[in-house]
Amino acid sequence: MEQIRKRGLVRGVRPALAMAPFAIYTFIGLGIPTLAVISLAFRSEQGKLTLANLHTVAQGTYRIGFENSIILATITSIVPGILGVFLAYAIATSHSGMLRRLVAAASGVLANFGGINLTFMFIASLGSTGVLTVWLAAIHANPWHYGFNLYSFYGVAFVYMYFQIPLMVLVITPALGGLRPSWREAAENLGASSFKYWRTVGIPVLLPSVLGGMLLLFGSGFAAYATADTLTAGTVTLAPIQIGAVLNGNVIAGEENIGYAIGFGMLVVLSITMILYGLVRKRASRWLR
């Protein structure tokens, strides 16, 4: 008895030990800074406790920043979310294993592509004199003549699709794998049409995973910084860019705590997103074991 209990204890300690480096790393890299952001958001430049920073960032241009960031994140989670599901489904049901592996690898790379490289890639291809623009202009389809502007809010949203769609493909592919062919066969044997199968089986099973994926995309779009910053020279007001201006810039000195307050606001939004994600995940995992 004693022996068994001891073994159980050792068995419990070992995985914890294996986890320790990661846990410590996460605590130093994410935990401490998060606590620091929260604490500094409530302090004045002189270090006194205050609500003034939060008050400042809840109005005026900072409020617009939050609104724009939330709208941008919403657009760039719903549109690529839907496109990503269709793309992933098409790939998952294709008969080419090669294609599946290729798309999986490409998605892994592209989902992490961003920043100045991405910005310049789009300027060079779809800027007003970009390569693609020039080709399209040759067939009288210059997008700039039809209201397209790369350096605008919707331009940023468009560029974000480039990493959001692959991200959705990555997160939704396992869920599609959980949609067992035997369910579809069973439904068809019982006389269900394709539409009925999707309405009563496919969509209900997939919906929590799709929503979960979209929430991840929301977080990714909400917090992205370098791409929007380099693409638009601050003409699109977003919360992360405003943090950059006060914490990192060459112009505004001595307003770092405003940056922490915006950071705190972003933490709140992201925490809500993560809680919702946790809830839909629970629901999603019911079918997908």
């Binding site: 800074p33 791409t227 020279a233």
Partner: protein, 386 residues
């Protein structure tokens, strides 16, 4: 890059600020100083501590100098660093060359007490003032102190203007038929103008200065930057403004054929591109002359206090000033150099002609007020929201 998104660099910044709290140890006196000589860490001039030869030997004994945020293609710093190392046999440790002024202040706070704490700073003026107010700088007056204009230095010697330039209009003569020479002319439509500024004016001082210059050209003043914001809003509405971060890449790709930027950066970053030496024409706008200078300062906790002071003496010597000039930046003592025939004539001729008369500068209070206006109004006026 994108993954190094908000959270990640918030993290980095938060660690930096934590460093402030956790590293409470006082600056160690790692450097060995000759017993008899005075303490260079508190010397406010070379003369007060035994003169230049004493400074040189103390600095050479230290043997190291830590500099920060000095890109090698910026104002000729690559050559300056090499020349200083060769001349004095002092090894320069160059940290975070592409960083910002705020990065410099963060570094002296976070690295305090370490042997790699930056010795000297090169910052935008508001950051020099901020550091001085926090008591983080060691006052020091170089031998040529009197030649630095009073408006461009702290009377105490905490910070002092080093090099700078004018807001200038650069234009690609190969693709633009009529190159604009004024802010007013840039409003002309139908000329195919694709005008850019280098980054976000709430973040980058070059872009902020472009807005200030535009204000001066449009009825504004050092007390009123609003007309500058209105100007860019109009430019944007007309379609002449390309709201992206303009620079060598956007010029080469043709996304911008006109850039409003510091004259010295146009020279070192765009004229230096293959084929752009002659076709990229840089002029100071006829309707606005706005100049700004960066500042030098010595970190109070500098681990190499003598080398730090020698670096300043070197930068403000005729050699140092001319090296900046060769990087097409305007050294602060240029009028003195020109008056005494000490300036490198070829480098001087390569600069766009400066406007006649004495250059005036906004005070720090005027700049701070203008920054507040830009931070509040730029994102809402010159905007493309959803």
């Amino acid at each position: 890059m994108r993954r190094a998104s908000t959270i990640h660099w918030l993290v980095a910044l938060a660690i930096t600020s934590l460093g402030l709290v956790s590293i409470a140890a006082p600056a160690s006196s790692a450097s060995v100083r000759p017993k008899a000589s005075c303490n260079w860490a508190t010397a406010t001039s070379a003369v007060s501590c035994g003169g230049m030869s004493a400074l040189v030997s103390a600095a050479e004994t230290e043997g190291h100098l830590n500099v920060i945020t000095l890109p090698s293609n910026w104002a000729n710093y690559g050559t300056i660093i090499k020349d200083f190392e060769k001349k004095y046999h002092i090894a320069i440790n160059s940290e975070n060359p592409e960083g910002s002024s705020q990065d410099e202040l963060n570094a002296i706070a976070a690295d305090a007490g370490r042997s790699d704490d930056p010795d000297v700073l090169d910052v935008g003026q508001s950051f020099g003032i901020e550091a001085a107010q926090k008591g983080e700088l060691a006052p020091y007056k170089v031998a040529t102190w009197a030649e630095i204009p009073a408006a461009q230095k702290d009377p105490n010697g905490d910070w002092y203007g080093d090099y700078g330039g004018y807001v200038a209009i650069g234009c690609d003569t190969a693709t633009v038929t009529v190159c604009p020479t004024s802010f007013k002319q840039m409003l002309d439509t139908g000329q195919g103008y694709k005008i850019g500024i280098n980054n976000n004016p709430t973040e980058a001082s070059a872009a902020f200065s472009a807005v200030f210059a535009a204000a001066l050209a449009n009825g504004g003043s050092f007390n009123n930057i609003k007309p500058g914001i209105d100007y860019f809003a109009q430019l944007n509405k007309e379609g002449n403004f390309v709201a992206t971060t303009a620079g060598p890449a956007t010029v080469q790709s043709g996304a911008t054929n006109i850039v409003i930027w510091w004259d010295y950066l146009q020279a070192s970053e765009i004229n230096a591109l293959p084929g752009y030496a002659s076709k990229w024409k840089v002029v100071i706008p006829t309707d606005a002359s706005y100049a700004a200078y960066y500042d030098q300062a010595i970190n109070k906790g500098a681990p190499n206090p003598a080398a730090a002071r020698l670096w300043e003496e070197y930068l403000y010597s005729t050699t140092g000033q001319n090296l900046w000039l060769e990087g097409e930046a305007r050294p602060i003592e240029l009028p003195y150099l020109v008056a005494h025939n000490l300036a490198n004539a070829k480098a001087l001729a390569a600069l766009p002609t400066a406007p006649a008369g004495t250059t005036t500068f906004p005070t720090q209070a005027q700049i701070t007020a203008a920054q507040t206006v830009v931070a509040a109004d730029w994102p809402t006026e010159v905007t493309s929201g959803p």
